[in-house]
Symmetry: C2
Subunit: 258 residues, 2 copies
DNA sequence: GCAAAAGTGTTGTCAGTACACCCATGA
DNA sequence: TCATGGGTGTACTGACAACACTTTTGC
């Protein structure tokens, strides 16, 4: 149909999902990365991706991706749209759009590399200077440093493939982190990685990671006062470690006012 | 390529652009709607759309749409991404994604219906109850009433085509209005429709439209104090009407902190 | 001079911060 | 009992809303 000048040749549609979880032993946020089995960017680490199918919406594809990549089959996860990336320079070969989503898992499951991946690993999330950092043993990746889209895609061409994530994934991650940080004080969906219940200390650890400060720099008293409208007290106290046991909270169903 | 089960059959990619402007005579915000010349939804009013071409990014396509639909050829407009709509039920026939953008024109140009449109008109924007309303003479459309996506798309099937905008455009508009409203107090890009310079009264008129109140309900003194960091005073005063001439302002280049 | 519209100033309230203090637990 | 960590309370500060007052224009 009207393909004379390639005008209506359809690009590939990729679903890119940034999957977050929380490691309760090391107390660190985690992001899922996979090592690509096929070109382009074969053997590079990347955000998990899949192609969209015609019978499903992008949200459904993002959920399917989780099932396929990490074999996890919980009833439903919280997934939200991040943005859509369409710059021509984002892929070096065939044109491909990326519809990017974020998923917050309530636990940190063991991973097995699914179709299209040689490996799948959790990478620990941390802030370094004004950027964010994903690391697993000797592997380390950072969110893009450039502030402007054109500058980033310009720099992307000269990049060393093995030092960086595939495609424009460092740019996508940058936007994801910004978005989460901006929403911390009114819709902290990132706390869903803490599962059904969490202590204020755990919440402060996540806030601190995005703010680039130490958890101890967030005053517990003030934090509770300024965020109590976002959390629901579920009375029960856990124990297990030294010190007074903390109360447990869950995210208040934060219906955003329309 | 791997088209066995229609799995990789590629959907159409539509760029939908919500184009805003401001009528300085009636002092009302305007949204551009077109009357569709071709099926589906032939003769229905709709947001202007185009198909994405492989040589361009979605942002470029959104700009091309403006040139083609309204023959306007300013150097560059401010365009921002709204969201991407992928629900299967959003189109009744062939599957199509919509990448939705918003453009804020610094003036309100005369319109001529471009390719694919029988007519193109500016519709005045106003708030009615908890919804928003677009009207031009006897024609009136409203943003979707449903709060949940599934509820909306369920209701969409039973809709009278001639009472409503085409496709899920009333849903898209709803999200657009919400987004603009939420950003009023930290990144009021909507004020770009006021052009290079504006008075505080004009700004208050736009705020009032989204807040569903009268401009007089916004205290000028307080408005100036709480928003002065967003505006830059450009000293000059205009006159032309009764009362003390107002100072002129422009949007401060609001770099968002990263 | 008067009305209209814009700008300035003043006060009270409320939310956020800094910080001191109290409580519950494990070793 | 002490150290550790969580919870509570108080005083200071700064932002915002309500509202009174002043300035500049057209008629």
């Amino acid at each position: 149909m009207l393909n004379m000048f390639g005008i209506l040749e359809k690009p590939l549609i990729t679903i890119t999902n940034i999957i977050w979880s929380f490691d309760r032993t090391t107390k660190q946020l985690q992001v899922l990365l996979v090592k690509r089995a096929q070109p382009p960017y074969q053997n590079s680490w990347a955000l998990p991706e899949t192609f969209m199918r015609t019978q499903e919406s992008a949200d459904e594809a993002a959920l399917r991706l989780i099932r396929e990549k990490i074999g996890l089959n919980l009833s439903d996860f919280y997934t939200e749209q991040l943005a859509t990336f369409t710059n021509q320079q984002r892929t070096s070969n065939e044109r491909a759009l990326s519809l990017a989503y974020m998923t917050f898992l309530p636990e940190m499951p063991a991973l097995k590399a699914g179709y299209g991946a040689l490996e799948a690993r959790w990478f620990a999330f941390s802030a370094v200077q004004k950027r964010y950092c994903l690391s697993n043993r000797q592997l380390t990746f950072q969110t893009a440093a450039e502030a402007s889209e054109t500058a980033y895609y310009q720099a992307l061409k000269q990049q060393q493939p093995d030092q960086h994530l595939a495609f424009d994934h460092e740019w996508i991650l940058r936007l994801a982190c910004q978005r989460i940080k901006n929403k911390l004080n009114y819709q902290p969906n990132i706390l869903l990685v803490l599962g059904a219940q969490f202590t204020l200390k755990e919440a402060r650890m996540i806030y601190a990671a995005f703010l680039g400060i130490k958890p101890s720099e967030i005053d517990n008293s003030n934090f509770k006062k300024t965020h109590k409208h976002l959390f629901k007290d579920i009375g029960i106290s856990s124990s297990k470690q030294i010190g007074r046991p903390a109360k447990l909270y869950r995210l208040a169903s934060n219906k955003v006012e329309f």
